[in-house]
Amino acid sequence: MASNTKIEIKNLDFYYDDFQALKDINMKIKENKITALIGPSGCGKSTFLRVINRMNDLIENTTVDGEVLLDGENLYDPNVDVVQLRKKVGMVFQQPNPFPKSIYDNVAYGPRVHGLQKSNNLDELVENSLKSAALWDEVKDRLKEPAFDLSGGQQQRLCIARALAVKPDVLLMDEPASALDPVATAKIEELMAELVDDYTIVIVTHSMQQAARVSDETGFFLLGELIEYANTGKIFENPDDERTEDYITGRFG
C-alpha cells in the first residue's frame, strides 16, 4: 500500500544569523511511517526536526525560507496558530523532562492547557495516554506520586504519554533513547513500532543501529544538506551516495 505524504518540505533554507544550517531541503515524510534522520553532530538534523513544529521560533535571529506543508498546509503561513500546531506535532527530547508534578498531572497538563477539565473524561484520557506509552501497568497505582520518582526510562515514556495526551498526528523524537540503558531503549523502540500505526514519527538518532532497526525511511544529513533519503533497507544495504556509505559504515572522517 502506497502511503500518503504527511509532511512535505519544499526548498527549505534555515539560518542562525548568517549561518545557513539547512540548505535547500526537499523531503516528503510519509504518513504512519517512522522516518529516521541521521548524520554527524552539527549536520542540521535536529534543527530540521525543530522546523517541523516551529520550535526554532523560540530562538532569536533565526530565518526560515521555503515551505513546510503539514497535510498540505504551510506551517509558516502567518495565519498558523503555533499553539494549535504544536498540539498536532508533539515532541520528545533527549533527556526525559517531566514537569515537577505528579505522574497524573504531567499527562493531564496538555489537555488542561487546551481546555479539557476533569469532567471531560480527563481520567480516561490520562489512562489511555499512559497505556499507549506502555507505562500504565507500571504506574496505575501511583499516579499521584512525583514524576521524578520514576526511572529514566519510565520518565521518557511518561514524556511520550504527555505528548500523546493532546492527540497529535506527528511525533518528533530527538534522540529519545540516547540517555537510556539498553532495556529502556528496547522498550522505547518497541513502543515506537506500536505507535506508528496511529502516528507519523520522525526520529533523530545518533545510533545507526537504532535507525536501521526502527525506521521505515532514513534521511542522511551532512553540513546542512539532505544527502540521501530513501527506504531504510536501501540506505543500510546499498546506499547510492558515497558519503552516506562512509557515514553509516563508520568511516566518516
Binding site: 545507526m208 543501529q209 543500510f236 556509505e245 562512509d246 559504515t249 563508520g250 568511516r251 566518516f252 572522517g253
Partner: protein, 218 residues
C-alpha cells in the same frame, strides 16, 4: 577516508583466508584430474585427505563472519562483503567435495585401461579451473565486468559435458563391459560441470557484493 581498524583488518583477514581456501580447492581439482590422467591412486587419495582441511577452512570462515556481524554491526558494502564471503566459503567447500567425488571415481577405475585417450575432460578441467581462478580474482578486485564475463562462459562447459555424455553413450551401446568405466567418466564430467556452476555462483555473488544488486541471469 577514516579506517575502521577492527572491521577493515578483519575483512582483510577474511579475504586472505578465503583465498587460501580457494587455492587448496583449485589444487584438489587439478590433482584429481591429474590422478585420472595418470591413473595415480595415491594422488587421488591425497585429494580425499585434503578435504578435511578444506572443511576446516569453511568452518573457520563461517565463524569469523558470524563474529564480525555480531561484534561490528557491518552495513552496506561491508555487510555485503561478509555475507558474500560466507556464501563463497560454502561454494568452495562444495567444489572441494566434487574434487573428492572425482578422486573416488579415479579410485573406482583403478588401473583398468582407459576406454579412449582423454581429450574433452582435460579441456573441461582447464576451463573450469580458469573460471574458478578468475571468479576469485573478480572477488578480490571487486571487478564486476570480469565477473559478468566469467559467468557467461558457463555455457561452454555445459556443451562439453553434453558432448562427453553422448560420446560415452556410444561406447556403452557397443559394449556393455565398458559401462562401469564409462559411467565413472560421465560422473567425472558432471562433477566438473557442477564445479563450473559454483564458479558462476561466485561471479553472481561478486556482482552483488560490488553493486548491491543480484543478477542471477546466468
Amino acid at each position: 577516508m577514516m579506517q575502521r581498524k577492527g572491521l577493515d583488518e578483519n575483512i582483510e583477514k577474511l579475504k586472505n583466508e578465503m583465498l587460501l581456501m580457494g587455492s587448496q580447492v583449485e589444487e584438489s581439482i587439478e590433482q584429481s584430474i591429474e590422478a585420472l590422467k595418470n591413473q595415480d591412486i595415491e594422488l587421488a587419495e591425497d585429494v580425499l585427505e585434503r578435504d578435511d582441511k578444506i572443511d576446516e577452512y569453511e568452518l573457520e570462515l563461517e565463524e569469523m563472519c558470524t563474529r564480525l556481524i555480531a561484534t561490528q554491526q557491518p552495513v552496506a558494502k561491508d555487510l555485503r562483503t561478509i555475507i558474500v564471503i560466507s556464501k563463497l566459503a560454502t561454494d568452495l567447500e562444495r567444489i572441494g567435495d566434487h574434487a573428492c567425488n572425482i578422486a573416488r571415481m579415479v579410485i573406482n577405475i583403478g588401473d583398468e585401461p582407459l576406454l579412449k585417450p582423454l581429450i574433452d575432460i582435460p579441456r573441461m578441467t582447464d576451463i573450469v579451473t580458469r573460471r574458478l581462478k578468475e571468479s576469485l580474482k573478480a572477488f578480490v578486485d571487486f571487478d564486476v565486468e570480469l565477473a559478468h564475463e566469467i559467468a557467461k562462459e558457463d555455457e561452454e562447459v555445459d556443451v562439453l559435458d553434453e558432448q562427453i555424455l553422448r560420446e560415452l553413450l556410444t561406447f556403452m551401446i557397443e559394449d556393455p563391459k565398458t559401462i562401469r568405466q564409462a559411467m565413472s567418466l560421465i560422473f567425472i564430467s558432471r562433477f566438473l560441470e557442477r564445479i563450473g556452476d559454483h564458479a558462476t555462483n561466485i561471479c553472481e555473488r561478486v556482482i552483488y557484493m560490488t553493486t548491491g544488486d543480484w543478477d542471477v541471469s546466468y
